[in-house]
Assembly symmetry: C2
């Protein structure tokens, strides 16, 4: 198991601050993992990711890396850490979500899923064993089990069958994990993914099925796929009660800054989302006083930093007026500066949460910040 | 005048190593100026430009900055140095070349040029006075006089009329320069641009006309526009003989690494070109052993750096295989890493030339390197 060492627990919510250890270093929780889908966090180099943004762990994607550059090149490189020159921990998603969201053709079978590549239409078949094999070649510190991510909305019968399939695959995942070994000398952990759509009894069944299999830790998948936010929070609250206290809990693909703060209060420790980088590339900036749309003409003569409360490279060196100019002029530097800022903000957000959990005033702070950061300037 | 302090002169060629001083710092020559057309060197942030690439001076464009962000915003920012957060020297082209190359509609008149914006078709009129005014708002350390850049090929009569126009405008440039003052407290220099197409007598006339006006220094314009390389070298060799020895000589828009080395041998001190950054974005990499096309499949398992003789951030941290993956996967990081490398290479090139001029073995070194760096891998 991957042990979460808990430093402090909030008495007014389920929030906790802790840390876990991998062979590539310690991760302090709650943590946000920048998304490096194809072995690069879009528009940000690895030095800035480590030193400016202070990312402690990044997420990459089995599906994408399998298609490009492919297993052979990753093996020849000595794994993804060496390939991309990233010495800190890496978590890889299993590909279940990408097969569901990107692939045109997807055929579920009892032992795996057939899909066509979104790049060239070529056909592939993922089984739990195969996905473990790819993640051994990648060498991620945390590997996710192959699951079925059900669509939304999803009727009860579909969701029930889907949970059963995910539970069956989970057994194969565990077996394949135990039969195989790391390729590069460092330990790899495996997380199970709790599914069940919006149905509490199915979430409970999924959690219990996976806990029996005894994964290193557990994630909640299949949320933030279109359901109302209040329903998501209710399901997260419900599900974390079934997840072990002493292991990090990961809410996959979430989310907006306010979703992250709310979910920390519900007992979540780990997050990932494309939002900080994707929104950055679309000129949407997160700040402690709400979001900014940097193409807006009102910033053309605004020589303040993006966020006066921010210490990131972009805020310390450039103005809103300059950023706006770069976006309007379609300059690549806009993408880098905005991405650095948004990722720094997300890491700052979870670090601040961590401090307030330790200080004992997390809930009050969280409620205040959720209102401020949700504001649209 | 802008004095070139000559440290050493090559006895076997017209190459010289020197330095000149601006209020934003010293520039050692021969020098390459990275091109920051719109107030940013494409895909590279200002910290990397200064600290990794070790750029001593960058070029920006009056035409582009005038259209976007515009004079008012640059004034409000306190000039381009502050707007883009670049504390070292900036040279601005006058817009003559951009009006010739980018604008759809261009009407030459005796007192200036009417053109339509390549962005929105709006009509504008540039006179020498107006262009000086914009460059005062930009606050560039070196301002170029407005010239007519004749097309290639160009018949003698057109070229002759064009030189006369450029000489007349040069007088207005000088007058406007002397009547106006810097806006931000630092000294600005003005260079005249020698035109004359491929006609030696016109190059001579243009040089002599401009020297009478007594600019701070002089550039050669209107070359590398399509004429054969040997003809360009012959014209550069011919023209530098008319340019003052104690002032930096600038060959505008040149060029490939081998063109730069050859032109240093012909007495040129300053260069600019979009090639290192543009080629980088097209996955073409310059190395001391020739050029590489990084999308080539042969690099997919090549874990060497781009250039084993290079100390740039990209070469110290990433492999050819990783760069190829980034290009194939259309990742933005490819653009940054390739641009950093190519610019570092160009700066390394002129720095090495400088050292060999001082060592007294420039010509021999240059001939050897021209052969090596021209090789297509």
């Amino acid at each position: 198991m991957l042990k979460l060492n808990i430093d402090s627990e909030d008495t007014n919510s389920k929030a906790r601050a802790g840390w876990f250890e991998t062979d590539h270093g310690k991760v302090e929780t709650p943590i946000f993992m920048p998304v490096g889908t194809q072995g690069t966090v879009k528009a940000v180099n690895q030095k800035y990711l480590a030193e400016e943004i202070k990312a402690q762990i990044v997420l990459s994607n089995t599906y994408h890396l399998y298609l490009r550059p492919g297993k052979e090149i990753l093996e020849a490189a000595g794994g993804l850490h060496r390939f991309m020159n990233w010495e800190k921990p890496i978590l890889t998603d299993s590909g279940g979500y990408q097969v569901f969201s990107l692939s045109e053709l997807r055929k579920l079978k009892s032992d795996g899923v057939e899909f066509s590549s979104h790049l060239d239409g070529s056909k592939h078949f993922f089984t739990p064993e195969k996905v473990i094999g790819i993640q051994r070649s990648i060498g991620s510190d945390i590997m996710m089990a192959l699951d079925e991510c059900a669509p939304f909305p999803c009727d009860y019968e579909y969701a029930k069958t889907s949970v059963e399939l995910t539970s069956n695959w989970a057994i194969s995942n565990k077996e394949a994990f135990e039969k195989s070994k790391p390729h590069y000398g460092h330990k790899q952990f495996q997380f199970g993914i709790i599914q069940g759509s919006i149905y509490k009894d199915l979430r409970e069944k999924s959690a219990k099925d996976l806990l029996k299999i005894d994964f290193d830790s557990y994630a909640i998948g299949g949320l933030a796929v279109g359901e109302p936010m209040e329903q998501m929070y209710e399901l997260v609250d419900f599900t974390t009660d079934f997840m072990p206290n002493q292991q990090p809990r990961y809410l996959m693909g979430v989310g907006k800054p306010e979703n992250i703060l709310e979910s920390i209060a519900l007992g979540i420790d780990m997050f990932d989302c494309v939002m900080p980088t994707r929104n950055a590339r679309n000129s949407n900036i997160f700040t402690w006083n709400g979001t900014l749309s940097m193409r807006n003409a009102k910033y053309k003569n605004d020589f303040n930093p993006l966020d006066k409360n921010c210490n990131c490279y972009s805020c310390k060196n450039y103005s809103r007026a300059y950023l706006r100019h770069l976006f309007i002029a379609e300059e690549i530097l806009a993408l880098e500066l905005a991405s650095i800022h948004n990722l720094y903000f997300y890491l700052d957000l979870v670090n601040q949460a961590r401090k307030h959990i330790a200080n004992g005033d997390f809930l009050e702070w969280k409620n205040k910040k959720v209102a401020e950061i949700s504001f649209k300037n």
